[in-house]
């Protein structure tokens, strides 16, 4: 009878494709929106994600996220260095700076000042230039979208200059980074240089990046730093979550995306559920005939669930495929750069589809189960 179910399902090609594409479209909506949401949240934590060589972030306990920090003082740095279990600790400067190019155009940029000696926190992937050149006077490394923003497309040329706070800056390298939440250019320079590029303040130490001694648990060391210095210390993953949580809790982004995803879910359910429900409804007469001929209710449940599963699987495959293709083909679009389809999102979308399909088949099943087989004799 499974074969009969399959035939019933695929016999009317138009209806079959309509149902499958209904599901596929729902999956596309849900997974694409969720992936963009995850991508955006990831972007808010770009700085913590991109620093791979230090496992501990220390900041003022009043800092709300990675962009609104109260600067530390140099003595804080030394106190962190003095904490038992800390192998090393270095400075990190992070703020916004206005960068101007020769034609007078200027852009708000994210300025990162990394430790002069160790270059801890330097970009990992350079597409042009070399990290060592960052030690040269006025040297900066800029991220690729930033370079494009200032100097357009075309081959990358090193040696271009910008001006920040009346200081000249020379591009010695172009790098790939995790794109930031606001699509500002990201500029790396040495800490001492960064102080010149930014308007003067009394304290300018945004973060201390530290690392635990070999064999120690970073979580434990963070605990020690907290208790001994009173500063906020977090492991890199905790720092990433700290920032993301800030955006989740204090911006409208999650709510808006939540609404979009819910709409996607509802529209997906409506389309997929509706088409599948209508499909069953239109076949009610056939199910009635089968019932009269001695197909048990359990068998009918099995047939409908099989049809639902087939529609669900094919629709899911198509939908998630479309999402993957979408992100694959937009990899070079700055606004969508770094967005991808996390497996968790694919999993959630699968769960959503399963739910949609189960709901749709339950409603359809009800109709079929209460169907009096005697209706087959009615016109």
């Amino acid at each position: 009878m499974n074969w009969v179910a399959w035939k019933m399902l695929t016999g009317d090609r138009a209806k079959y494709l309509g149902t499958v594409f209904g599901v596929a479209f729902g999956v596309l909506l849900i997974s694409q929106q969720m992936a963009i949401f995850v991508g955006l949240m990831r972007r808010t934590a770009h700085a913590a994600i991109d620093v791979r060589d230090a496992s501990i972030w220390v900041m003022d306990p009043e800092g709300k996220n990675a962009d609104e920090v109260k600067p530390l003082s140099d003595s804080d740095l030394y106190r962190v260095r003095g904490v038992e279990g800390v192998d090393w600790a270095v400075r990190l400067y992070k703020s916004l700076a206005r960068a101007r190019i020769d034609n007078g155009e200027f852009r708000q940029s994210i300025l990162l000042g990394i430790d002069d000696h160790t270059l801890v926190g330097a970009p990992v992937r350079l597409v042009a230039g070399s990290l060592a050149d960052l030690r040269r006077p006025d040297a900066i490394i800029i991220d690729q979208p930033g370079y494009r923003l200032f100097w357009g497309t075309g081959p990358i040329e090193l040696g271009k200059t910008l001006e920040m706070n009346d200081h000249r800056a020379v591009v010695v390298g172009v790098c790939d980074t995790t794109p930031p939440f606001q699509t500002f250019p990201v500029i790396y320079t040495r800490y001492s240089q960064a102080l010149g590029f930014a308007p003067r303040e009394r304290n300018q130490l945004s973060f201390v990046l530290a690392h635990q001694k070999d064999g120690l648990d970073p979580q434990q060391v963070c605990q020690s730093i907290r208790s001994e210095t009173g500063l906020a210390a977090r492991t890199r993953p905790d720092m990433i979550w700290f920032v993301i949580k800030f955006y989740l809790e204090s911006t409208g982004i999650p709510v808006n995306f939540g609404i979009t995803i819910a709409l996607g879910f509802i529209v997906g359910t409506a389309i997929a559920g509706q088409t599948f429900y209508l499909f069953t409804l239109e076949n009610l007469k056939q199910f009635g005939a089968l019932k009269a001929m001695g197909v048990s209710n359990w068998r009918l449940v099995g047939m409908i669930l099989l049809q639902a599963t087939i529609v669900g699987c094919i629709g899911y495959g198509l939908g998630i495929g479309m999402t993957a293709v979408f992100f694959e083909s937009t990899q070079n679009v700055t606004a969508l750069m770094g967005f991808y389809l996390p497996w968790q999102v694919a999993g959630l979308a699968a769960g959503a589809v399963a739910l949609i399909i189960v709901l749709a088949s339950l409603i359809s099943l009800r109709k079929v189960l209460i169907l009096e087989p005697a209706v087959v004799f009615r016109g």
Partner: protein
């Protein structure tokens, strides 16, 4: 039993009626629909017997309860009161899944609207009752072809219902109703949607192929043109058997 054995060419050598055993016996069958104030009694205590090896016609004005009665006989509806003895087994003893299984094994259906699955070919449609019984698809299809041959559609095996005429679809439906060799064949107005000639072909087929030793065939009809096919005619009026036992007729009357 082989279907071919039934193709006895009987223009009408009136069978010895009393020799045919009673297959189905309705005993004071009452059927009511609805609840409370809207409760209506459709069958008012029907007593009737359906004999094997015969074609029994059930006739009567529209709304008198014919469809309701055969639905009960075929085990699609339960009577409100009374019982139906099916081949010696009281229906009241066949509850739920046992009744479903009884239908699957012992009852064939022919509907006015054919009710073929539109996306299955003729042969596949005919194979369904065998698939329901759990036979393998190749075996079921093989048997289906044989039976389609017997109803004269051996050349239409792989056509979809939409590619067949109404009369041909009804013949496919008859083949489907017979493929699992049921002991009871129930047909509700099988010729109502057909033109005169196709109706004759269908009735002829029921008479030649369906009627077999030990099988009861009951046909509900409005169609006065087919009355001659009945070995026995049961007449209903207003939820009652009109003159129940004396309506036996031989068609050469």
């Amino acid at each position: 039993m082989m279907l071919q054995s039934a193709t006895i060419d009987t223009p009408a050598a009136a069978p010895v009626l009393s020799a045919n055993e009673i297959c189905v016996s309705c005993q004071s069958v009452v059927k009511e629909f609805g609840d409370g104030d809207s409760r209506i009694r459709v069958l008012h205590g029907i007593d009737a017997n359906i004999h094997g090896s015969e074609l029994t016609l059930l006739v009567g004005p529209s709304g008198c309860g014919k469809t309701t009665l055969i639905s009960i006989i075929a085990g699609l509806l339960y009577p409100t009161n009374g019982d139906v003895i099916l081949f010696g087994t009281p229906q009241s003893q066949l509850q739920g899944s046992r009744l479903v299984q009884f239908r699957a094994e012992n009852v064939g259906f022919v509907f006015q609207q054919y009710n073929l699955l539109p996306s299955l070919t003729a042969a596949e449609n005919v194979a369904i009752p065998l698939l329901i019984q759990g036979q393998s698809r190749p075996k079921a299809l093989l048997k289906a072809r044989e039976v389609l041959d017997a109803v004269g559609l051996g050349s239409r095996l792989n056509q979809l219902p939409s590619q067949l005429s109404g009369g041909q679809q009804q013949r496919v439906a008859i083949a489907r109703a017979l493929v699992h060799e049921p002991r009871l064949l129930v047909c509700d107005e099988p010729t109502a949607a057909l033109d005169g000639h196709s109706g004759q072909v269908v009735m002829d087929l029921l008479k030649r192929v369906a009627v077999q030793a030990g099988r009861a065939v009951i046909v509900v009809t409005h169609d006065s043109r087919v009355l001659t096919y009945g070995d026995r005619i049961l007449e209903m009026a207003d939820g009652r058997m009109a003159d129940a036992d004396s309506t036996q007729k031989s068609h050469n009357l």
